[in-house]
């Protein structure tokens, strides 16, 4: 009988991405609710030493698939290896992150395994020994709780930055084992030519703890400088609404919203953003939202926790100075 909760780790260039700790932590909570074991699966090249770290976040056992062909992520290789490892291990629950990689992998893996999958979930629980997943639908205008019908493992992905990360417990350790798998080069049809990196050191929006975002109210690309200054002072990433991206002021990769990045930072500061549903769908799970807009009727004030009704060109620079003062003190 299917047993245990399995989580799939995500690494890039040998480092775990934040989503890995979130998924392992959530997996621990589900495993406790079931009274079962938590397994973390790590794919990559020379990841075995690094993999042990996941014990501190709750993994009881860590399975490592080590192969140079698993160093850069490719759907072909990861799906082939994971399908074998998962079928062999027969878990009750299989959890991944809803990151760019996780969304890609989870869909293909669910097809290979022939099991249902709930994408981009914001909450999980165990009821009567089964997984119940909550996911936003219709741009976050409704929430659906879903369950599985004769489909094992019960498979789901977790929205990045939503699941709380466990305090690492350095006294915990886990058994680290090698995965048994066959990987045939003939299966690897897709080839990663290279990765094009934008400005180095830019904070990833989906992992960011704080985000300062600008919309149509920014009036032009040059004005984003004032947001960048505030962002630098508080250590935030800079995002943009769709109208700012459509106007060509910011690249598509900076777009926060249903058709861009879905973010859930601790603090989201929306500047000159009216709050169209398409934008709200991408940021409404932020923990604290501050909106700055001169239109008191802007819908963003419905979703925000705090609002400033004023011209952002007055507020933002003054606010940056004010925060600087605090930091200097």
């Amino acid at each position: 009988m299917a047993q245990g909760v399995w989580t799939i780790a995500e690494q890039r260039e040998g480092e775990f991405r934040k989503i890995t700790y979130e998924v392992v932590s959530e997996g621990r909570r589900l495993a406790d609710a079931l009274g079962q074991e938590l397994v973390a699966v790590v794919l990559g090249s020379n990841m075995k030493d690094k993999a042990g770290e996941l014990a501190q976040y709750g993994a009881d056992k860590i399975i490592v698939a080590d192969d140079p062909r698993l160093e850069p992520y490719t759907t072909d290789a990861y799906t082939a290896v994971l399908a074998q490892v998962v079928m062999e291990g027969d878990p009750a629950i299989l959890l991944l992150g809803a990151s760019a990689q996780g969304k890609d992998l989870s869909a293909r893996l669910s097809a290979r395994l022939g099991v249902a999958m709930a994408q981009d979930c914001t909450a999980f629980s165990i009821e009567d020994g089964n997984l119940v997943a909550t996911r936003p639908i219709y741009a976050g205008k409704a929430y659906a709780k879903v369950t599985y019908v004769n489909s094992l493992p019960q498979m789901a992905t977790a929205r990045p930055n939503v699941m709380a990360i466990n305090e690492p417990d350095t006294s915990r350790s886990a058994e680290v084992v090698d995965a048994a798998f066959n990987l045939d080069d003939a299966e690897l049809k897709t080839k990663v030519v290279d990765i094009i990196k934008d400005e180095a050191g830019k904070i990833d929006l989906t992992e960011a703890d704080k985000i300062v975002s600008g919309g149509r109210g920014m009036k032009g690309p040059e004005n984003f400088k004032i947001l960048e200054e505030l962002a630098e002072v508080i250590g935030a990433a800079v995002g943009a609404s769709r109208s700012a991206v459509d106007a060509g002021w910011r690249p598509h990769s900076d777009q926060v919203g249903q058709t861009g990045k879905v973010v859930s930072p601790n603090l989201y500061i929306a500047c000159g953003i009216s709050g169209a549903i398409q934008h709200l769908a991408g940021m409404s799970t932020s923990k604290v939202i501050v909106a700055i807009n001169k239109d008191p009727d802007a819908p963003i004030f419905q979703k925000a926790d705090y609002g400033v009704v004023a011209d952002l060109f007055d507020v933002v620079p003054a606010l940056t100075e004010e925060v600087k003062k605090y930091i200097q003190e």
């Binding site: 205008k141 897709t190 598509h252 549903i277 004030f301 400033v308």
Partner: protein, 264 residues
């Protein structure tokens, strides 16, 4: 190059007040206006651009009711050559597997080099249909495609949008499947005149039963995911508006940033 694009009709929810049906199982669609799924619109545009550059033809397919013909006509007006409507009530309540199974049967018989879908749908957002079909058709695929760099011979190079401002350049042999991200292009405007011009193009209709799809495999009955309950998010009280002079407002806001954002 021959390209097949799977499109979906979805309700426009931006300005709509959603309501849940009395039995609590679904969103009430009665008063909602239907439109083409946004990601799919970009996929149709990309297909037409590729066709314009390389020749071949574009076929659009949807699974839906009579009304779904609208989005097919729209795609034809944009420049697609053929349209297929898979109509069957049996598909209602399908999960991603059910939808993909239905589309697969229609796609299987077509001769194509590229199979495109949007990254996800705006309604259920499973983000799986294109990938499921790719797996069953044993096609190489790339998701989240934000640029088609080149098509040479039987290979295509595309850019995938990852996080952290990274793009991945991937090379795939054709035939291949891609899921298209918004922002890849600027979809052309469709005028009423344009739609009128294509009103006589015949839309091929297929039904699930004709294609040998069993009702047990699609629709709510064929789903491996069951919707236990639906809820609407709470309205919330709205923002606490900070008041006072500009200095006072900034001081309060800075305090919120410090305390809630953990800025030291």
């Amino acid at each position: 190059m021959n390209i097949v694009v799977c499109v979906k009709q979805v309700p426009e929810v931006a300005d709509a007040e959603l309501e849940i049906t009395k039995d609590g199982s679904q969103i009430d669609m009665e008063d909602l206006v239907m439109t083409i799924n946004e990601w799919d619109n970009y996929a149709v545009e990309e297909a037409i651009r590729l066709k314009e550059a390389t020749g071949g033809k574009v076929t659009v397919i949807t699974l839906g009711d009579d009304e779904a013909e609208d989005i097919l006509r729209r795609a034809l007006a944009m420049g697609a050559d053929d349209a297929i409507l898979m109509e069957d009530e049996g598909f209602e309540g399908s999960d991603a597997f059910g939808i993909a199974r239905g589309l697969l049967e229609a796609v299987k018989g077509l001769d194509f080099d590229l199979l495109l879908t949007g990254v996800q749908s705006a309604d259920d957002g499973w983000a799986q249909v294109g990938l499921l079909m790719a797996e069953w058709l044993e096609l190489p695929f790339a998701s989240l495609v934000i640029k088609v760099e080149s098509v040479e011979g039987d290979r295509i190079i595309v850019h995938r949008e990852l996080e952290a401002n990274q793009l991945e350049r991937v090379e795939l042999p054709l035939p291949a499947a891609l899921t298209i991200q918004t922002g890849i292009n600027n979809p052309r405007y469709v005028s009423i005149m344009g739609i009128r011009k294509v009103r006589n193009i015949e839309i091929k209709e297929l039904s699930a039963s004709e294609l040998g799809i069993s009702e047990k495999d699609v629709g709510a009955e064929g789903s491996s995911i069951a919707q236990a309950s639906l809820s609407l998010p709470e309205e919330g009280e709205g923002a606490e508006i900070l008041t006072g002079s500009m200095d006072e407002i900034c001081e309060k806001a800075a305090q919120i940033i410090r305390e809630r954002g953990g800025v030291a």
